[in-house]
Symmetry: C3
Amino acid sequence: MVVHTDYLFFNTKKRQEFVRITDEIASIVKTSGVKEGMVLVSAMHITSGVFVNDWEEGLIEDFQVWLEKLAPSGLDYHHHQTGEDNADAHLKRTIMGHQVMLPITDGKLDLGPWEQVFYAEFDGRRKKRVIVKVLGR
Amino acid sequence: MVVHTDYLFFNTKKRQEFVRITDEIASIVKTSGVKEGMVLVSAMHITSGVFVNDWEEGLIEDFQVWLEKLAPSGLDYHHHQTGEDNADAHLKRTIMGHQVMLPITDGKLDLGPWEQVFYAEFDGRRKKRVIVKVLGR
Amino acid sequence: MVVHTDYLFFNTKKRQEFVRITDEIASIVKTSGVKEGMVLVSAMHITSGVFVNDWEEGLIEDFQVWLEKLAPSGLDYHHHQTGEDNADAHLKRTIMGHQVMLPITDGKLDLGPWEQVFYAEFDGRRKKRVIVKVLGR
């Protein structure tokens, strides 16, 4: 049984930004040598997430407009009494999800034709981390 | 360590449809021979999802009404400039979740009394796939 | 390969309540003896969830206000024709997520500085259960 751990680091220029990480995950899986198993990809911060969806710029814009509608920034959140201004980032990441588990078959990510993995930053311009943990044989 | 992989195929008659798959997953777990472990059930398409909730027709209708309210179809989404008309399906599946991990204890799915697994189709009438990956001993 | 299973029990005083369970999970991981692997933490009921976010009372209040807005209680849900009155609890738990998978590195939960694990109850005042399944070596 193999367990292989790695981390990805982010420091986005914009406060809110989606970064495609499929290739980075595939590369870590290759390094792990795991032929059959799974890989956990999980944000280690609570204002960012990880999700699987389409790599299409229009849809990415739709996601961001939609999230702003469901979880608006700039409201008078209780959390802001602590001096923070990012309550909406906590809510937005909750909708997108904070982690995914990707299947590995024959040494490769076993994804459908349109599945792409994204890191979703909602409070960027600072160093953030994602854990990538491969488990299998 | 056992890793056993299978796939479920769907081609729903309606564009939006929830299909119960608990028994299919249980059967794959049995075939795998795994006594202690977990099974990943993950949609391989980005307009469908997999979730655990109640097997009650009224609630399933509530889910669909609710999703239409939170992520309406028919809006002028950016994604539709590509010729697609299914942006809402991407959003709806994001709310429902695209995958679940189910525990296996004593050779069986270790679910609570009301937990049922569903495939959630939001852009059906075409062939779709779900990966089922069992991992354990 | 080690697979270790435990259960947490809840019976909250309030109908809706978030309970921090990070220490309980850490303790089960320690008992399992697993040094490298993952732990699944999953609600066994369909009106409660498990999520990772900030341990800050103001934000917890923000979450509850926000969930009530996105998935209001007291509406005339179809599910209520069965005699139930908790359709909103099913919807709320869907937004928060029903499970998480936590990485284990060097025998400990490998969490970011602000990551805390919570049990999210949306239909409490009754006995509920969460499965905790550790898998690794």
